[in-house]
Symmetry: C2
Subunit: 319 residues, 2 copies
């Protein structure tokens, strides 16, 4: 019998959100707890109380196909969270989290990283519905990616494929949080945009509307608001960031020749300010046979729901 | 009933080689014709005479599972050769070559580009046997690639995925034959190595053993021979080339996290001179979670047979 529900859980650096999702992609019940905890066991116990409450509320576990979890450094093959620097109970540890949640709920659990979950979400409920080949790029505090080939997520031989935020785009470039230099993430994450803003303002952008902000904490929303008022520095920040993204995308296209690249998260909300330079560089740097073929799309899932929907979509794939 | 044979055809810029291959990967009959011809139809007619002769010789077409073809700009989805610049009858044209050969032989035909065929060859008969995730890199006149994910070749949405020779590794770098600048191929193909040799000799390598060669036509074999005699410029040419390859591989690994990268062709025959710098840069530039995990392997298929074996392997996949 086809089960009517799945549970989606998204473990973020601060909050964990979860929800019961039906086959049409509606979140019919939802909840939230803090991600921080002294141990993985205590965290799992607290989470499971909430999950079991929701499960009972909608009719019990027989109504569920399973539970999907999106987590930083989540490994699909092992169901583990491996050394996630922003999760206190998973830092420097390998936590068998899928098994722990399965034991506590009696349901099968699939787990992957958050960007892969987002890709499955787009494929199941979003703009990538029906696509067999696309790349999801999440532009947030970090830059993540989920790569879909022949209708399947690419996990690689070890479960960690798709770290496109850590492709090196400028040799000996900006220091990245990963310890290396010049990663895409160092330019196109939230902090990357703030660093570009700082550089351009210091280079002589004192007339910019952005000069009044704390220069180390300018957000892409601030930059967007300034751009909307015609601020040239703000527009240039998006141009520079967009060109770096577009050049990287031209190389990504040579790899898997995707039907689309789907953008999600902070920076993608800058609309034309970011999309136009991205498209410009994609066109300029793509190999002839690929030019103009790969669509650049924005996720249309509501941001508040996307993480839970993405994680939940993984649970439909449990056989 | 399982058919005992397949036919493999490799269409190169100058010669077309073909052979009857058995299930153990033995080439039991082989032949060769020139690739040049006035029209695709004439070429196909000439080739088909040879193919049908071999087919009859080993017992007729009922003994064949099919024919596999590796061709420049070969498109797996459509069975076409699309605008192949080095094949006179396929330049600026889309040739439905799989259908033409199928009509002339009465056998099912699968066609893909030469690097993809090489990857399938390695997976079927070579060092990648049993691997579900690896990347094949062919280092010849050009630089080609075949990417295997979850045990399947990556063709992308249009059949042209896997053009890793045309990933841009140096912005505004060397002019590439594709019309753009800074492609991997411009540094690591046969001509790329010759250009690096020229640069290093002109920069003051007059004492190099390579200085006596026609500076525009130094081959990786010449460089290898000089390196074997302790020539520092020759060793530096491989170092520079290897470092560029290794840096590119570190980015490739972030994409599909392959179990191995398999090298084939001219440059790969330089052994330790090229492998050591490649490995060095792969290690240096790989993201922490990937470090030391992806093997760097050399193809062990005999070069004279590899193209035919690779193309033939494609024909075992015909259902």
């Amino acid at each position: 019998m086809v089960k009517p529900y799945v549970m989606g859980i998204d473990i973020g650096g601060t909050n964990t959100v979860f929800g019961v999702v039906d086959a049409r992609g509606q979140i019919i019940e939802a909840g939230k707890i803090k991600s921080s905890s002294e141990t993985a066991e205590l965290y799992c116990a607290a989470l499971s109380v909430e999950l079991n409450n929701l499960i009972e509320k909608v009719g019990g576990k027989d109504k569920f196909n399973g539970i999907g979890i999106g987590a930083p450094n989540g490994n699909y093959y092992n169901g583990t969270i491996e050394d996630a620097p922003n999760i206190s109970w998973a830092k420097g540890r390998v936590v068998p989290f899928a098994n722990m949640v399965s034991a506590a709920t009696g349901l099968p659990v699939a787990l992957t990283n958050d960007a892969n979950a987002a890709a499955i979400g787009e494929m199941t409920y979003g703009v990538a519905k029906g696509m067999k080949n696309f790349i999801m790029i999440t532009l947030g505090t970090g830059v993540g990616s989920g790569i879909v080939v022949n209708g399947e997520l690419v996990y690689g031989h070890d479960g960690f494929a798709g770290e496109l935020g850590h492709v090196i785009v400028k040799k000996d470039g900006r220091a990245c949080g990963c310890g290396r230099k010049g990663c895409l993430e160092a330019y196109t994450s939230a902090t990357g945009v703030a660093r570009t803003a700082k550089e351009l303002i210091e280079k002589g952008g004192t007339k910019s509307l952005l000069a009044k902000f704390d220069i180390n904490h300018v957000t892409s929303k601030d930059v967007y608001d300034a751009a909307e008022q015609g601020d040239q520095i703000a527009i240039d920040i998006f141009k520079e960031t967009g060109h770096i993204l577009g050049e990287a995308f031209a190389n990504f296209i040579a790899f898997t020749s995707p039907e689309a690249i789907v953008l999600f998260g902070g920076l993608s909300k800058a609309g034309k300010y970011i999309l136009e330079p991205v498209q410009e560089s994609m066109d300029e740097y793509s190999l002839g046979i690929f030019k103009g073929k790969t669509k650049l799309l924005l996720s249309d899932l509501p941001e508040s729901d996307a993480a839970v929907l993405g994680a939940s979509a993984l649970a439909w794939e449990i056989k």
